[in-house]
């Protein structure tokens, strides 16, 4: 059965501590996952990013040793609307600085037809599987990418989680462990028909599938511009702020002016002063365009893994940031845009957004 769900995503710096109350004194990331574990959240995953900046325009990057001391974190949690709504206030209360977003998603369990199958827009299929789970004898993430590639998806990327919950159980990566069930997140972009077919097949082959589907717009692929992000008004008809998200899928191998696209993109967005933030996640396996799924090898001089740059901002800023994205992805990359119904930037100062979900039919 397919259910209407919410996806909560939090972006912040790894070394940040949870706002102290009587129980919590540790790192914010741990406190958040403790909360998700205690509330049996259907699926959540903690991802460690490689570069980011926020509204204060302070760069975090793994390029320099000193700047990689406090890497960016992205934590996503998906469950039925009621459960996520109950969590939001706690997540906000423990966060001193960061960005919390809420998005609508459809959680699929078994062989559901997805909604909006006839829509002109594209769809984003997210699959959560354990690190060592196997499908037909091979590691699940290889099998899933192969399957998405076969279905003609525009792209897919696998992100390694370091902590998370699956089907309500907490799985945290440890150094001396096979980490069988520690979740990985696989994001695939395809047409609604492709997503529908792939979801049905995945539900049949993956032992305990956790799949979500979201509506996105395919803006660019391998340099070809299909559509700019939707031009959304600043608020919906009830005055709730609308937000947008751009996801730029590139690889370490695609460069712009001699440096990888994601490095150039973060630098340009940071210099632009109009973008309020961006986070870069490095995947371990994936593809976009017509290349077969690829990743790093044991012996290599240069990296081949996929990289995704996430930009969440107001519709105005997204329109300006898209010009920069468009310029840097002149030959490579997969760019999608989507509406984000609720965003809350947290930084002590007066808060602009809110967690009331906006509604806008575009």
């Amino acid at each position: 059965m397919s259910q209407s769900c919410l996806k909560l995503t939090a972006y912040f710096g790894e070394r940040q501590r949870a706002v102290a109350d009587r129980q919590r004194h540790g790192f914010l990331a741990d406190a958040m996952l403790d909360l998700f574990g205690a509330r049996d959240v259907a699926t959540s995953v903690m991802l460690r990013g490689i570069a980011s900046f926020g509204p204060r325009h302070v760069l975090r990057s793994d390029e320099s040793l000193s700047l990689s001391e406090d890497p960016p974190m992205a934590i996503a949690a998906v469950d039925v609307e009621l459960k996520i709504r109950e969590l939001v206030d706690d997540v906000i209360a423990m966060t001193a600085r960061g960005l919390v977003t809420l998005e609508r998603a459809q959680l699929l369990s078994r062989a559901d037809a997805i909604r909006d199958a006839g829509s002109r827009d594209a769809a984003k299929l997210t699959i959560y599987v354990g690190r060592q789970e196997r499908v037909d004898g091979i590691r699940a993430h290889y099998a899933v990418c192969e399957l998405l590639y076969r279905h003609g998806f525009a792209g897919a990327a696998v992100f390694l989680g370091v902590d998370g919950t699956a089907h309500g159980r907490r799985y945290r990566a440890r150094f001396f462990s096979r980490n069988v069930n520690v979740p990985q997140m696989i994001i695939g972009i395809g047409t609604p028909a492709q997503v529908s077919a792939a979801a049905a097949e995945l539900a049949a082959v993956v032992p305990h599938p956790l799949l979500t589907v979201e509506r996105v717009r395919l803006c660019k692929r391998d340099g070809e511009l299909f559509a700019r992000p939707q031009q959304l008004p600043a608020t919906d008809d009830r005055g709730r702020t609308l937000w947008q998200k751009l996801m730029v899928h590139t690889t370490e191998a695609t460069t712009h002016d001699g440096s990888p696209i994601h490095r150039a993109l973060v630098r340009r967005l940071l210099q632009s002063k109009t973008a309020n933030g961006a986070t870069v996640l490095r995947g371990i396996w994936g593809f976009h365009g017509d290349h077969k799924p690829h990743g790093d090898k044991l012996f290599q001089l240069t990296r081949h893994v996929p990289v995704t740059t996430i930009i969440v901002d107001t519709p105005d800023s997204i329109a300006r940031s898209f010009d920069i994205v468009d310029e840097l992805t002149a030959n490579h990359g997969l760019v999608t845009s989507e509406m984000v119904p609720a965003v809350l930037p947290i930084d002590g100062s007066p808060r602009r957004g809110g967690t009331r979900l906006a509604n806008f039919d575009y």
Binding site: V58, L59, S61, D62, E63, S64, L65, S66, L67, E69, E252, A253, T255, G258, S259, P260, R263, R267, L270, Q271, L301, T302, R303
Partner: protein, 121 residues
């Protein structure tokens, strides 16, 4: 060597490494480029400082504290190498080569300049 010198090495080394972290981070954030300007700044300023101190006729213990402990922990060879490797890994071959050449050239010049300055005093 007395216990006081050992403690001195610990402290001077600690201060040097904290100073490097602060300088490196400040420069890297300010520059916001792929090229590791933070590490370059630390290594060049360290080389100049070492040239300067080596020109002074310090006692053995004072030289140990200033050179080996303080400058030794302030400058970094390993980070220079690691960041060069990371540049290469991300296909920024020119930046990687420049990082080696510029560091060596400026570093030598800084050390010579430091010594020249103390020679004039």
């Amino acid at each position: 060597m007395t216990a006081a010198v050992w403690v001195g090495v610990l402290l001077a080394g600690g201060i040097g490494s904290v100073l490097r972290f602060l300088v490196d981070r400040a420069v890297a954030r300010w520059a916001a480029r792929s090229f590791p300007f933070g590490t370059l700044t630390v290594n060049i300023s360290g080389a100049a400082l070492l040239g300067l101190i080596s020109g002074l006729a310090l006692s053995r213990d004072a030289a140990l504290l200033a050179d080996t402990a303080f400058i030794g922990s302030y400058t970094t060879f390993s980070t220079w190498m690691l960041e060069t490797q990371r540049l290469g890994e991300e296909r920024q071959t020119w930046s990687a080569a420049a990082n080696i050449v510029i560091s060596v050239a400026l570093g030598l010049a800084a050390a010579v300049l430091g010594q020249w300055v103390t020679g004039r005093l």
